[in-house]
Amino acid sequence: MTTLIRLQHEPFDVAAEAARIARGRTDIGALVTFTGICRADEDGEIITALTLEHYPGMAEAEITRHVEEVCARWPLLGVTVVHRYGRILPGEVIVLVATASSHREAAFAAASFLMDYLKTRAPFWKRVQTRTGTSWVDAKAIDEAAIERWAGKPPEREAAK
C-alpha cells in the first residue's frame, strides 16, 4: 500500500503520476484516475482564470484523513492525491485522484469517495476571474448531497471481487 499526497502550485504530469503507482508491481489489476480540469465557464460566464486559496497544514491533514478512511473501507494497493492551489488557467489540471486495487470496484468507489470529500471537506476555496471582475464560487448543494451516499456505509472489503 503506497500513498502519495501533494499540494503544489506548479502544473504536473497526470500520466506520470498515474504510472508511478503501478510501476514495478504486478498485483494491481485496476487503476482509476480522476482528473479535475479548470473550465472556461461558470454558470454561463466566461472565466479567464481561477484562483484557489487553501489552508496550509489543514489541507494536507484533511486529505490524509480521507485517504486513511478509503484505505480502511476498500482493499486498495495505492492512492495518489495531487491538488494545486494558486492561479490556474482554463484547460489546466486542478486535481488528480488515482486509486489502485486488485479489482476495479474498490478503485472506482475509492476515487469517487475521495472526490466527493475533497469537494466539500478539504479546505480550498475557488475564486473566479471574469472579464468584469472576480468572485468567490458558491458551494453547491449537489456536492454536499453527494457525500451523504457514503454515510454509515460499512467497510466493503469483502466486495473487492
Binding site: H54, M58, T120, A139
Partner: protein, 83 residues
C-alpha cells in the same frame, strides 16, 4: 489563541490571522463568532451569517457548539469549494 480567516471571511475581516484572548464566558465556537461580530463593522459584516461559516480547531472541522478551551489555532471560512 491564534485565529485564521480564509476566503471571503478573510476579506471582510481584513486580515489573515491574529492573536486573541477572549474574555471568560466565551466557551464555544459559536460564542466566539458572536463575540467577534461585536468588535466592529468589519467583523459584524464577516460574521453576519454565522450559520454559513465553518470552523476548524487545530486543523480539524468542528461544529458551532465545540468548546474552544485549549485550542491553539481556530480558523473561520466559508463552505469549501475545492476539487
Amino acid at each position: 489563541m491564534k485565529l485564521l480567516y480564509f476566503a471571503w471571511v478573510r476579506e471582510r475581516v481584513g486580515k489573515t490571522e491574529e492573536q486573541i484572548d477572549p474574555p471568560a464566558g466565551i466557551a464555544t465556537v459559536s460564542d466566539l463568532m458572536a463575540w467577534l461580530a461585536r468588535r466592529d463593522e468589519q467583523y459584524a459584516h464577516a460574521f453576519e451569517n454565522a450559520n454559513v461559516i465553518r470552523a476548524a480547531i487545530d486543523h480539524r472541522h468542528v461544529r458551532p457548539d465545540a468548546p474552544i478551551a485549549g485550542a491553539g489555532e481556530i480558523a473561520f471560512f466559508p463552505p469549501m469549494t475545492g476539487g
